[in-house]
């Protein structure tokens, strides 16, 4: 459809405008505040460039991305399974849903002390907290979508002699994919927030959150703003570029 392309261009323009406005307000703040409280935008960009040319930055980036990848990936995997199974079992569904809604309302960062004690200082508590943040929205969206799969689509598959496994793979899974993707994008936002905050608190080996917390501790405001910049850019790239691409690929049939 031509429509989606024009809206694509329009949303890109909106993004460029939004970034310009945010940087503008930052710069205005920098004019009014002394340099040690708020660095100029060009100074932060200069620091970002230096960071990009240092090995240390990539070590932190690599650590953070693998924690995100493992935690988010596991959350998607188990969230989809729980969602599909829960959505098809009429008996447990409402209880399960209520449980998820309750657990979901706990900020994922609140789990840090528990898992720190349970699992010890290391990567694991960060990964688990990331996974918790992403798991609930994924499971909930898949479960809701599974529940509302068109009856006639299920009956048609039964009449054609589909086994349980075939039904799950060829009917339920594709039917819930649109909602799953929306849920996965929501889950990514949660996972990202959980990752950065957990890294700031736990402070185990290099990472984006740790680097931010450290800059704060030594009152290096240029470092703080540079780290925030990195965190914002990465989130936007992952969500708007990678996840949107995957979405268009998986839902290709809807965009034709």
């Amino acid at each position: 459809m031509n429509n989606s392309q024009t809206t694509g261009v329009a949303s890109k323009r909106a993004y460029v405008a939004a970034i310009a406005i945010i940087l503008f307000f930052w710069q205005v703040a920098a004019w009014f505040l002394p340099d040690f409280l708020m660095p100029d935008v060009p100074v932060a960009l200069q620091r970002l460039w230096e960071e990009l040319n240092s090995g240390e930055f990539y070590e932190g980036l690599g650590n953070s991305m693998s924690r995100l990848g493992i935690g988010y990936g596991a959350a998607l995997f188990f969230g989809i399974i729980l969602g599909l199974v829960g959505g098809t079992l009429d008996m447990v569904r409402s209880t399960l849903k209520a449980a998820i809604i309750i657990l979901q309302s706990i900020p994922s960062i609140a789990w840090v002390p528990l898992f720190l004690i349970l699992m010890g200082f290391g990567n694991m508590p960060i990964i688990v907290v990331v996974a918790i943040g992403a798991f609930f929205p994924t499971a909930l969206s898949v479960m809701n979508a599974t529940e509302s799969v068109e009856k006639v689509h299920i009956s048609a598959a039964r009449v054609m002699g589909a086994s349980k496994m075939q039904m799950l793979k060829r009917v339920y899974f594709p039917a819930v994919t649109p909602e799953l993707i929306t849920g996965a994008q929501l889950a990514f936002g949660n996972a990202w927030r959980a990752l950065i905050s957990a890294e700031m608190i736990v402070g185990f080996s290099a990472g984006l959150g740790k680097s931010l917390a450290y800059s704060g501790e030594i009152a290096d405001m240029t470092g703080v703003m540079t780290n925030i910049l990195v965190i914002a850019i990465l989130a936007a790239v992952i969500d708007q570029v990678i996840l949107e691409r995957i979405k268009h690929r998986l839902l290709r049939y809807q965009y034709l």
Binding site: E150, V152, H153, S155, A156, A157, R158, V159, M160, G161, A162, S163, Q166, R170, V171, P174, A175, T177, Y253, L256
Partner: protein
């Protein structure tokens, strides 16, 4: 395949939908069921398909009790039964893939059936990209590809305009004559029943009982149904439709 209802009763809670229904549908016979909305026609078909079980009584197909769906008895729905996330080709091939046929032979067979319903060139279209008539052609291909012994049709052309409907009735008639399944057709269109069926059963309001059974015999027919004018009027009358041509309301409708 002979279908036999003996003393079949179906109720949903307090709602008696079908009461002690008896009939035998001979192997290769084409039976049309007509009746008021909500009288239980779809319920009868769903029981034949094995999607629902009678509350009491027995229902057999080829002498064996109907306990669950089987590709031998396939059901065509009114609309929206194609999977929107699959191309027409994949939709048709799926019927064989669900029977664990290799994908390659399924696709080859599906191509053949799509061309039999005059859809060659549309293999890679998604359902929402083709017309309602084309979707139902595809649904017929998906039903016939499994070579069912029993073909159950639930208002297959109910959502189509009159002209498309007549074209598809001819397509269906040809397919039935070539493949010779036993057919049970539910329809609101009395002309469709007369054109396609060997026998028409007219049902009453709920709980459904047979008001009248008309044997038309298996004779070659065209869309010119003048020879059946008397039967047509009688059936319409039983369905509570005013067949008096000289009512004032009617003549007003013609001048308007």
């Amino acid at each position: 395949m002979e279908l036999q209802f003996s003393q079949v009763t179906k109720s949903f809670g307090d709602l008696n939908v079908i009461k002690q229904f008896d009939t035998t549908i001979r192997n290769g016979e084409i039976v049309a069921l007509v009746g008021p909305s909500g009288c239980g026609k779809s319920t009868l078909l769903h029981m034949l398909a094995g999607l629902q079980q009678p509350t009491s009584g027995t229902l057999t197909a080829g002498g064996a009790s109907v306990a669950k769906p089987s590709p031998e008895r396939t059901l065509v729905f009114q609309e929206h039964a194609l999977y929107p996330w699959m191309t027409l080709l994949d939709n048709v091939a799926l019927a064989l893939e669900f029977q664990d046929k290799p994908r390659k032979t399924s696709l080859a067979e599906a191509r053949k059936w799509l061309s039999r319903v005059k859809l060659e060139g549309f293999e890679d279209y998604y359902p929402h990209q083709v017309s309602g008539g084309m979707r139902q052609r595809c649904a017929l291909a998906r039903a016939f590809i499994a070579r069912p012994k029993v073909l159950l049709l639930d208002e297959p052309f109910g959502a189509l305009d009159a002209l498309t409907r007549m074209t598809l009735q001819s397509v269906l008639k040809d397919l039935i004559e070539e493949e010779r399944p036993t057919v049970v057709l539910v329809t609101h269109d009395v002309d469709e029943a007369l054109y396609l069926a060997d026998r028409v059963m007219v049902f009453s309001q709920r709980p459904a009982t047979v008001l009248r059974e008309v044997e038309l015999g298996h004779i070659p027919k065209t869309h010119d149904l003048t020879a059946f004018a008397d039967v047509r009027l009688e059936v319409l009358h039983l369905l509570g439709i005013d067949t008096d041509e000289h009512t004032p309301a009617d003549s007003q409708g013609e001048t308007a």
